[in-house]
Symmetry: C2
Subunit: 406 residues, 2 copies
Amino acid sequence: MLVVKKFGGSSVATPEKIKAVAERVIRETNPEDKVVVVVSAMGDTTDDLLQLAGAISSNRSAREMDMLLATGEQVSIALLAMAFQAKGRDAVSLTGPQAGIQTSDTFSKASILDICPARVEEELAKGRIVVVAGFQGRTRNNDITTLGRGGSDTTAVALAGALKADVCEIFTDVDGVYTADPRVVSKARRMKEITYNEMLEMARLGAVVMQPRSVEMGKRYGVPIHVRSTFSNEPGTIIREEYTMEEKEFIIRGVAQDNNVAKIAVLGVPDQPGIAYKIFSALAAEHIDVDMIVQSIRSSEQNIIDMVFTVAKTELDHVKRIMDQVGKDIGVMGIVTDESVAKVSAVGAGMLGNPGIAAEMFGALADAGINIEVISTSEISISCLVQQDRAKDAVNAIHQRFFKEA
Amino acid sequence: MLVVKKFGGSSVATPEKIKAVAERVIRETNPEDKVVVVVSAMGDTTDDLLQLAGAISSNRSAREMDMLLATGEQVSIALLAMAFQAKGRDAVSLTGPQAGIQTSDTFSKASILDICPARVEEELAKGRIVVVAGFQGRTRNNDITTLGRGGSDTTAVALAGALKADVCEIFTDVDGVYTADPRVVSKARRMKEITYNEMLEMARLGAVVMQPRSVEMGKRYGVPIHVRSTFSNEPGTIIREEYTMEEKEFIIRGVAQDNNVAKIAVLGVPDQPGIAYKIFSALAAEHIDVDMIVQSIRSSEQNIIDMVFTVAKTELDHVKRIMDQVGKDIGVMGIVTDESVAKVSAVGAGMLGNPGIAAEMFGALADAGINIEVISTSEISISCLVQQDRAKDAVNAIHQRFFKEA
């Protein structure tokens, strides 16, 4: 069995926690297993390094920031390798560059281009536990890069793919993927399994357990990703291509909520060809991701329409400035924004062959007296925009409708 | 002009000091100069990392310690490169491995085997200031190593040699090489120049300005080493093959003192062939460096001799254990040790052609009423073992005799 295990920064925040990680890895594996452990920087290390850099300059080159930040994981891999050795296990640490993680040269948010795992395989063949620095790699020119947000997960899954590992275990502060956020829905259940596509859709729609990049990586290389808790021995959730267990019977796999949403209504838009293109190309030129889009006829006599769309709330000020200009150019009656909205979504590959799912979901919201402002659908999800103060009720109503047993 | 400048840990201990180093380098060089800056880890970083490692295990593998400690310089090179950039100069940082420092695989005290400076030359050709991590390199197997004590000086001098630099400037907390320790001899003068051989002899005999390794490296590659103060603009001392200035007239270049000396007297040794071999091969087998050796005939009737030698005081306990055994094996009358001694030495290439120097030195000590316990000479030095409580007087007496002008 070849397994890649990834532990995040909070799991290795102190020497004591590092020792606990070593103990757990030894306890959960057999001596004949081949084991790779990917770790992030210790707890606050990155913040400390950012503070040092801030004391030098406010305008830092991304290359030098990566050179600086990459030391964080290098410290934790060395300490974890020592912890394994102190418990009598042969272990060796490798930086991202040493482990053959080859990346693009977009410093601070590099993508993994290729993995040359020769050194890792060589060390595994010697019976060593191989401790690899997450979050980092090297360019063709031998410069050190970091992978940006969620980078250590990506390292772990990509390495598991290159090594043809049996499973990539991601240890995190939650004990798996739930049918809804347990803080919102008290009866939310942990899923035993979920498909890559469903997990990606859940992540896109607001569930923050895993970064989409690493799930995509797992899908591409066919690596099962096992999401587990660092702090408990619960069985967790396995993300894979297809279900192997009884979970097939559930048409809906989860209910997600995303509060980082703002609604923009463009009122009284002349109903002419090319108007939608003008609006959305102006936004695209400024790299704004537009999510839900609804176009409605306001009045057949006046030949004008309303256009409603949503963007990330964090982008709203930027979008307002763009839309003020676009609105003047094309001549609209008004632009109204609303930040007090949230998007609730039901996700499940099973809805493909079940046409009644959307109706069920709308019915659940209607029964709870919740108004739906915008609707959008994908192949495996249905999303409704609701007022944010009703979002929790909405998630609970949908969850109750689809997970009656729970 | 191509110059390599090296700053130690105390020179880069804080972000403010790092900014000051950047300012000084910019002030002291012309924009058309090619500049390489070698730096050590920031002030206490190494101690902090050692403490972390100590919390994991007391028995750490040297490879993992090197992986851990090498992060110290990686932090300082990134910050110094940022500091240059903040002042409008193009700069790039390179780790030891990136700079092509190839070493043996004796972790924690690796030797530099070769330098492949292609990347450094490429960056210099782009007009960039190249900031290189001292103290570290990589093995043929791409493992990270550290060079051990004085390693950053060695990196700087070796790199200067490989780049055929005009000079290697070592910035340190003293402002040059003195004719004697200024804390001991108030009239000690700073030398403008000293030869590699004299500097090596001074270092061997107790002057701690430069580690011998880096002076040897400078000698091998013919790189002038300029020892300067980080904290002042004094002209410092240039270490090179031959004098270029008026300093030729001084026969003696410096007076050194070494307190890390212990004397061992082996009394009543049978005067037979092979006895000296037995004693010193037993010490060599345990890697003990023996310094001064004197053999004296005690009594022609009894056919026994005394053997006196010195070792580093830090090795004395180990030496006592070895000598107790050896003494039994060969049958000696007694072994007496003395830790309260010091070695004072006069160094100067000029003494080669001046036979009266030793007599002058003994005369100076006699005039001061200081007893000489052991004498040893090399081509360019004369050393006397004296009681440690008279060492300061001895150094002053010798200095005054040879530097009358001062």
